[in-house]
Point group: C2
Chain length 317, copies 2
């Protein structure tokens, strides 16, 4: 069988122009830009928990990096470097090759150098660490939301969870919608450009990978504010899907890599212009209040208070 | 059952004085020291591959961080920050508590802030990323060895592999030696102070976690040099162990976190003084030659060329 070192050399040796030293030593070496703050995140994807055993390895490679870049985007950081640690049941050249292809497609798209990693044998598990930079004091922190802020969300939350329901046979989507949903699930687009543009424009931001309401809950808790959310102001549900399921996916589905953020009402026109410039819809779906801290009220299309039972996804809940 | 968020809060919320923002947001935020280069490494420990299912979680917590700090030491970097991603089959409070205790004991000993991470459900797998700093141009790279350099190794390589053989029943060690070997295996001491002192003194360095000869091979390959190693100049074998097994463990055993390094012969007295100051033996066990690049000759106690069959451990070999 091909050795671990040989497989890594074959598939993961790419130029790393943003590093002093890339893969192949005890550590990678990088020189941060003078005066910049580093944003660092790590995310682990486990077979059976985060992806199905037959997931296309190329899409998985893209996603493993994309979910980390989404965390950088939610801080407003520019992605620069990533490291990959992976555990695999066997050293399958074609699987690793396809995985690397997806990973580097994502890295190239977002300007990231893959500077190091670790490969080992075991149940399939992929752990990425991503590092980005941002000017000191500009991070979009969860604790920075203010009472009176508008609440915004990007794109079309809920499609990934709908795609998963389709894959699992819980629902049956028409072909075109299924494809769109599976793309959201398997090849998410981290909102890196949006995050960069939100510096100085938004107060708090978070990516809604655990579900819209659950992640909003983190902003409320950390910022000590309350929120009112209006379902009628969220993006329209896909017309071909079961509306009850689609609404639940929108409010509580996981695996969405859209950004939710808060901003002063004075920024509405700037944000509308930004949405046009990025060709990415931004939905003003509610606002924040000073009291009661942590309280979340969601109103349905008729303006009735919604009973919230599924606030999100907690891996050990 | 206790939620993931609650368990993390309970066991992993510690002060992070070296960070702008620690755990609890999309990313951690840190400000690197002006002008310093960052050294970054990631290592994954998998149950069944790197540790046995009944391993004491506190020792495992120590080791998961220590193996990464060893990589920083091998570059001459001062450890500063770490992130932990972990997959666990269940949210067991006592296991996680003991693991955190060992992890933070190691972090405190070496001055590291644990600034973030990820927890999920799946087969037990622990992935640490560590970040250290060093002045620009001072890294101890694998490609920096020079013909004519002496070859040195620290401490007592081979004890960890002997400990593993004892645990697996392949050999039977007397109690005192077994304890010492198991300590090397389960609670290794990364040679951070040594690495810092070797800046400007050594040329190339590597930690010998894949086995002394296998890791020496990486220096030879990257630096384009040859080596002669004299077994008689390595540390004496423990007198109570099977000498054939003990020698094999010394030359080819994995899981040692000693440093092997090359240095000019002019530095011999400085290195001897350093060994005294650190109370850590340093063994001058061979030297490097210009040709043939990559060639490794090992001589036994009688000066006979040794046939090398077990150059180390390759996870997919």
């Amino acid at each position: 069988m091909t050795s671990e070192f040989e497989l890594i050399r074959r598939h993961f040796s790419r130029p790393t122009p943003q590093a002093i030293l890339g893969p192949g030593d005890d550590c990678a070496l990088v020189a941060p830009s003078p005066g910049m703050t580093l944003a660092i995140t790590t995310d682990m994807l486990v077979e059976g928990t985060h992806f199905l055993p037959d997931t296309d390895p190329s899409r998985l490679g893209w996603k493993a990096l994309a979910v980390n870049l989404s965390d950088l985007a939610a801080m407003g950081a520019r992605p620069r470097w990533a490291l990959l640690a992976g555990s695999l049941p066997e050293a399958c050249d074609s699987w690793i090759g396809a995985f690397a292809e997806g990973l580097f497609a994502c890295a190239t798209r977002y300007g990231v150098d893959v500077i190091g990693g670790d490969t080992t044998r075991g149940p399939r598990n992929l752990c990425l660490t991503a590092i980005g930079e941002l000017p000191a004091g500009t991070a979009l922190r969860r604790d920075a939301a203010l009472p009176g802020d508008d609440l915004w969300v990007s794109g079309q939350p809920g499609l990934a969870a709908l795609g998963l329901a389709h894959l699992q046979g819980t629902t049956r989507l028409p072909e075109a919608l299924a494809e769109r949903c599976l793309d959201s699930l398997l090849r998410p687009l981290p909102r890196v450009e949006l995050g960069l543009c939100l510096r100085g424009l938004a107060h708090a931001a978070i990516d809604i990978s655990d579900g819209l309401l659950a992640d909003l809950g983190h902003i409320l808790e950390r910022s000590g504010v309350a929120a009112e959310v209006f379902v009628a102001q969220l993006p329209p549900l896909p017309p071909d899907a079961d509306p009850v399921l689609a609404r639940r996916c929108q409010l509580a589905g996981g695996d969405d890599y859209e950004l939710m953020f808060s901003a002063s009402p004075e920024k509405r026109s700037e944000l509308a212009a930004l949405a046009g410039r990025l060709a990415l819809p931004l939905w003003r779906c509610g606002y924040l209040l000073g009291s009661v801290p942590g309280r979340l009220a969601v109103f349905d299309e008729e303006g009735q208070l919604l009973a919230i039972d599924q606030r999100g996804y907690d891996h050990f809940g």
